[in-house]
Amino acid sequence: MVKFNRFTLGNGLRVIVHEDHTTPMAVLNILYDVGARDEDPDQTGFAHLFEHLMFGGSVNIPNYDEPLQRVGGENNAFTSNDITNYYITLPSANIETAFWLESDRMLSLAFSKKSLEVQRNVVIEEFKQRYLNQPYGDVWLKLRPLVYKKHPYQWATIGKEIKHIEDAKIEDVKAFFKKHYNPQNAIMVVGGDIDPEEVKNLAEKWFGPIPAGEKYVRDLPQEPEQHDERRETVTAKVPLNDVYIAFQMGARLEDSFYVAELMSDILSRGNSSRLYRNLVKEKQLFSEVHAYMSSSLDKGMFVFEGKPNEGVSISEAETAIWEEMERLKNEEVPADELTKVQNKVESTMIFSEMSLLDKAMNLASFELLGDADMLNQEPGKFIRVTAGEIKDLANTLFHKDNSSTLIYLAEKN
């Protein structure tokens, strides 16, 4: 149970306060309701590049990191297809420094040309390091456009291609800031060894004067239902063959989300899971095989991924994965097995409450979904999932006309 207070400033900034006096630290987390899905198809990777530029100095503070480090703080950020999230952890006595820094960059950035130039290079190196110079690193660059034909989820947060990042201009940066980085599009969570009254005062003091800005109204092309089997095979310089089978599934707020989560746990969580036990240990067809989902705010992906052992053909590998899906479609999950994954979800949540930063990020994410208290309602939602619902969902999702298969064939020298 994560307790919190909540208030909204006059400019629309939502603030959540969570006290935790077991730590001498405080965290200030700001979630901006903007991600790669909000990008122009010809300027992909921009939300993430922009995240880098948020560290390039703000209107009154030339260097973001330095004053924070000087008071013993650390920070980082990440961008996903849905959101951009920034966080600071620091000794609680110095919490005001976090308010000062974060409010100034919400007010306005310095928009330095040098910063843009350097961060373009940094992001291009990131593109290479994580997506191009790693075996299988480009999988999401290939799989997303297979699964999504209309929705902007068809590109990864890093962007479709390096050229989009090279082409970013300072005017684009300014326009993006104006459109997305204002109080109405942000959720702030302040947590840790803090006094809620003081947080309220500091929030008013530093964030209150920031103009509300324009409300961004999201109107994204929605992904139509899939009615065709999709497939792509690539030959690449990878050491092993690799099989991906992805299915379109419901959005994060649909009830089926909880069913799908438990289904992926049954398939793939821990050494007692079905894929590991049946396909790695018993049939010995794969060296590794997993199932997981994208948990995205719009229509999601349910993905199977496995590296077949040497001597196992691609069609044998695919058949084996499909057999596990057929089993879920035809037989109800036994009660013990369902209890097992429900227990695991419960204990995972209890353990995650050991981390202040995790709690802060979770509160922000759930507030974005509609209500931070949904964090506390999660266990109940998982407990209510039935074996019948899992079977029904398997029948809804797992058919060829809803599948996108991507095969990596190892290039033999």
Binding site: P24, T97, V123, I124, E125, K281, N343, S347, S355
Partner: protein, 423 residues
Amino acid sequence: MNRKTPPASREIENINLIHPTSQALENGCAIFYFDSGDADLVRIEWIFGNLRFDPKRPLLNVGVHTMLSDGTSSLTAAQIADKIDFYGAFLQVDYGYDHSSVTLFSLNRHLQNTLPVIKDIITSSIFPERELETFIRNQRQKLQVSLQKNDFVARRAFNKALYGDTLYGLIADSGDYDTLKRGDMLQHFNELYQPSNCTIIVAGKISKEIKALISDSFGEWSNKNSPPDTSQPELVSAPEHFYFIEKPEALQSAIRMGNRTINRHHPDFPALQVLNTVLGGYFGSRLMTNIREDKGYTYGIGSGMSSLKHSGALFIATEVGADVCKLAVTEIEKELKLLQDQPIPEEELSLVRNFMMGSLLGSLENVFSHADKFKNLYFADLGYDYYDRYVEIVKTISATELQHLANDYLNFDQFYKVIVGKY
């Protein structure tokens, strides 16, 4: 309002570490308890000293340890997994350079069901032949993938150069898996997994009942053999200091360089940590500022220190655009030279002092972190006064002393250097 001036801030005066209570079992096993927190859960670690490394069977330790959950005389791998997962627990096996450990995360209300599983794997693992075959096949596959990652290849080559044919320098290739035999593994297991070679560290909410459950369970555990040999062969660094492993199609090159230095036991260790932080130990470090934030050569660059039982090392690691690899190496050299030639300005040094104090405080997130701090001390034969001294040194070490250290430890010409990719 004035947004240009930072708000008032306070320095961190000191830190409060939770000290454990301890219990010595008759069989030689020591248990340490860290009792704190509201949540009804525990993390329990069983930590064992590694046996003397045998270069002819380099994978013995890795193999034995990784396969601990793969079957005992009474439970199959599947049954072990079922029990752990059913009770919502998490079981981790980790092999390290000096120690190997089994870690259990469990809700207290399920501990009576999860603890016996751990007892069983620690006392009665049998390494079934079929599981061993699967393990070897899967490890070989994974190794093939890892070997295509430049940073992985660089790390292996670097460790090998620094530490030679020892556990620290271990670089297994596919053929080494042929040396992994069930008989050897059983023998290794029986020598290593003895109470006299085990330290148990419990952190979480610990009632009398929980304590009794643990101490009763592991009190009834006897030593099968004479005390194990946990000495290690001498570390011998390679005469060759430069290694270039060419990957003609690389978009980026991995760079790893550094040298053997000192470990936590050495009085200069905290001061060297300050120097390392200035060099590459935080986002605002000199390496990051120059090579990422000014030049844009890389997504990230950093330096780090490792403290091992028989050695310590300081190293710099990065992946840079293949076309700027030489330039990046030149810039690294410049930064090292600068630290040797000029004292660190007080403005920068005071920032690093505060940053390190904040990091120390921030590293005490929950009761598990307090236990982790204790492990750093306990296995280095140090007491809690170490952290008093650490705080004192971080706050007071002078720029002149750091410059001396830079001249002792940051000699680019003496560094081992590994480049994987293009150069």
